[in-house]
């Protein structure tokens, strides 16, 4: 093969690109149907963005570890500033706002933060001497790094993204070797604090989402509508689905947000359990690749970043699917590669790009002996 194809092209991670292409294409098919058999307004743009961000990811893959190390903290600070900007614009303009209009693109800084926090936290544990990993100094900087973005995002208010950001950071802390008892203790504390947070920390509409999630049938036309309709879409699809373009829940507008957060329900209605298993298997391959990259990585930074990014994508998928299937409250998290939406696609593809970069530059075993 290398005889016919130029080396730079032959060196591309074709297997990964193929997997991404298949998944995005399936998203294209679902969005095409969601629009009633039309390229506009979603399916066409979805593919254009995919190729655009794929190109970006391939460019990222040429950059090496040192680049990511160098930009880790600056990017983090920049995104925090952007989050602050969003808050200020919202306060001045009256009403909450989540995106910044840069003229050519509208960016949700909270989406970018999902990547930025991974880089920053990974860089921090990379810099931390191994001997201090079980000390207090391994903990407080993490909390500081988390406090700014989480505080600003929960103000927006966007519970789903806050959780994803925090979960990404904590995953890295876990991998970095913080004492296990902290995580066990944390889990216990969470169980205790959740009810308190529910009653005092959440906005009323968020509380309602949670209570509705616990009992969607109580309020089938109100806040429980999303979950109920989503389950109807998935359930009525059966094993083989109603067939391409034959979904009624989506086409007759019973399923809200059928092209964004609830795109999986749109898919499941037409493609059934079979389509669902294919999508899950696709994600499984993606995560296996992501963790494989982490295992092959030789430096501590790339290891942490690789797992952190894989976990970030995983949180998207897990939270979205749990929400769509009625296992989690409606929190507004899109499904990677299938949901329509520029910001999330960009975030996912940045993650993929950095993973490809680490895949390509696994680095050298830096300090095997300390």
């Amino acid at each position: 093969m290398s005889d016919f194809v130029p080396a730079p092209i032959a060196q591309l991670p074709w297997k990964t690109i193929l997997l991404l292409l298949i998944m995005a294409s399936f998203g294209f098919v679902v969005l095409y149907s969601a629009a009633g058999g039309s390229l506009t307004p979603w399916a066409g743009l979805h593919m254009v963005r995919f190729f655009m961000f794929l190109a970006m990811a391939i460019v990222f893959s040429r950059l090496n570890e040192n680049f990511w190390k160098a930009i880790a903290f600056p990017v983090y600070i920049a995104v925090v500033v952007m989050l602050l900007g969003v808050e200020l614009i919202g306060a001045v303009g009256g009403g909450s706002q989540r995106w910044l209009n840069l003229g050519f693109i509208r960016i949700q800084p909270s989406e970018l933060m999902k990547v930025a926090i991974i880089l920053a936290v990974a860089r921090f544990y990379d810099l931390l001497p191994p001997s201090q990993i079980r000390s207090w100094s391994a903990i407080w900087p993490l909390l500081v790094l988390l406090a700014f973005p989480c505080g600003l995002i929960i103000l927006q208010p966007d519970l789903g993204t806050t959780i994803t950001v925090a979960a990404g950071a904590l995953t890295i802390a876990f991998l970095a070797g913080l004492p296990m008892r902290l995580f066990v203790g944390g889990a216990v504390a969470l169980a205790v604090l959740t009810p308190i947070a529910f009653f005092f920390g959440l906005e009323e509409y968020q509380q309602r989402r949670v209570t509705t999630f616990l009992n969607p049938e109580n309020d089938p036309l109100g806040a429980g509508y999303h979950i109920t309709q989503s389950k109807i879409a998935i359930g009525s699809g059966g094993v083989f689905g109603k067939g391409f373009l034959n979904g009624t829940q989506s086409h007759l507008d019973y399923l809200p947000e059928g092209h964004t957060d609830f795109v999986f329900a749109t898919m499941a209605e037409e493609w059934g359990l079979l389509g669902g298993v294919v999508v899950l298997f696709g994600f499984f391959l993606l995560f296996r690749w992501g963790l494989g990259v982490a295992m092959k990585a030789k430096t501590r930074f790339s290891q942490l970043v690789a797992v952190g990014l894989t976990a970030t994508i995983f949180f998207y998928v897990a939270i979205n699917l749990m929400m769509v299937m009625g296992l989690a409250p409606v929190v507004g998290i899109p499904l990677p590669f299938l949901s329509h939406g520029g910001s999330s696609m960009m975030t996912i593809m940045i993650c993929v790009g950095i993973l490809m970069s680490i895949d390509r530059h696994p680095g050298r075993q830096s300090s095997a002996f300390g």
């Binding site: 207090w136 070797g177 109807i232 094993v239 359990l273 501590r300 290891q303 942490l304 002996f369």
Partner: protein
Amino acid sequence: MNGGKVISSAVQSLTFTRRATIIGGLQVGIGLLLAGRMAYISVAENERYQLLSESNRVNLTLIPPRRGWLVDRNGKPIANNRSDFRVDIIPDRTPNKEQTVATLAKLLSLDAEEVERINNELKQTNSFQPIQVASGLDWEKYAAVSVRLPDLPGVSPRQGFSRFYPTGAAVGHLVGYVGIASAEDYKENPNPILITPGYKIGKDGLEKHFEDRLQGEPGAKRVEVTARGKIIRELDTQSDVPGKPLKLTLDAELQEYAARRLGPESGSVVVMDCHTGEILTMTSMPSFDPNSFSDGIGVTEYGMLRDDDHVPLRDKSLRGLYPPGSTVKPMDTLALMRAGIDPEETVSCPGGLRVGNRFFNCHSTHGSVNMNRAVAQSCDTYFYKMALRIGYDPIAKAARELGMGEKYDLPVPSQSYGTVPDSDWMERKHKRPWANFDSVNSVIGQGYVLSNPLQLAVMASRMASGKKVQPRLLFTNKKIEVPAINFSQEHLMHAHQAMADVVSGRGTARRASLPLDGIRMGGKTGTAQVVGLNVGRGGRDVPWKFRDHGLFIAFAPVDNPRYAMSVVIEHGAGSSSAYPVARDVMTFMFDREKAMEQLEPLEKSWGGNIAERTAKKMTAYRAQKELEKAIAEGRIQSTSDDDISDQNTEPQVGQ
């Protein structure tokens, strides 16, 4: 914190690998959980969700069934269904109600009263139950609304059927009317058809009684709708099963004729086949137009009906009770003859009879009268004396045998069946023994005796045919077997002759003879006092409500009786108001053209036919209400209060 453990990069790397594996495991676990959950929803609960998805997608619209027709004995419709266009509002889906109603009022040219009714109903309910804006629309108006639908959310134009009564007010009391099911109806039977626009149920009369039979089964239309209620396409339609028709014994033409012949009077005409008991007409006027009720009656029209002193809302044939007066005299003679009185025996009439310390008047001084003359000239003295001789109980027994005081087995919502008093009844009801003056009062159909017009017709029928007929409203092709009554043929012939003589030369109703060759009518006049004699006779010179009721019972032909009837005119100032009606209606039985000729000049003098007169009355009523309102609001100064209400100045007199 560090627990004395020296952690190297190598240890860290090991920790990383171990913990990354844990994370990978967790991810696989969550993935399997999700797959399991999805399989559960889409396989185990598939059926349930498929059903829910279908009920989302498909909107079932019920199609109100066409009601069964009511037809007369000749198959002519009394109540049928007219194809019409209608417009409803669904309150829940109408955001800007006032604006919408105003637009509709302009498009459909609704009057202020209708707009008020719609606005009132809109205020009272706020649900999916539609409110009728208008029905019976023509195509142009329907189309005018239909094309503006995008600007009129919540407005629903439909094509359907509405109940139509071709003879209008003539059948009002008997047939009843239909209307939208009430909230109570729906609570009792929460069938969605009840709140479907255009669906009506029987509210009164035969329409109510035969609801189950007339109702039919609704059809259904399945349409695919979006979450916002927009119809995408029609899936399939199952047509309705119309209700079964009901054939009545009535003769619609006769019913209408009788109603028209009653004219401006308040009264009742009942005609029966005297051999079968079939009711050919049972008219009570004035009446309401069931068409107006079925469309949702306007406030003004209802107010007019309610305020009318001729009580158009009461069925006089079945619910009106009147002292039968002298119409009971032929029946009296049958009782007397059965008690052994010789019809040729004469009694002297000096113009009345003293019983105890009261003097009972006869309306004339008849001199020497026998039974025949006592009936023909309606001599009260003869019956006073005879009643005192045989007592009243045998007469009461005869009265009951002839159908007085009886509640008949008829498909009607209610009957007032009056009283035939006797000594037992007096003990039971008034705790006193029967007195002579009771006999004297009762034998001339006064005192405690009360009957409704249908009973009078049944009495006339039984006497005419000698058969114990039961009145019936439902037509049957089977032969109706009727037992004979317990009076001898000879006695009946005698009574027939006396009734014939009432109408012939020397009787009290000479003008009642039929203008037909060879067909004679027999009858008996009656005058029922409304107020005591101390106020004076209830003739035409006293206010309407104090005038005597005029009654007449009749049968024809005398030689071979076929039809019997009763006519009651409320406050007709004596029997002379009743027997001309009886004559014309009986004429109609034999010669319809001739009867119509009699009617036309009369209607002209009354100011038009029923519909025309009602319209005039309505205009006058509306004008009066406007005037009252204007005075109440101080817009106009009242010059004389008497203009508005002339009731207050009348003397208050009890019976």
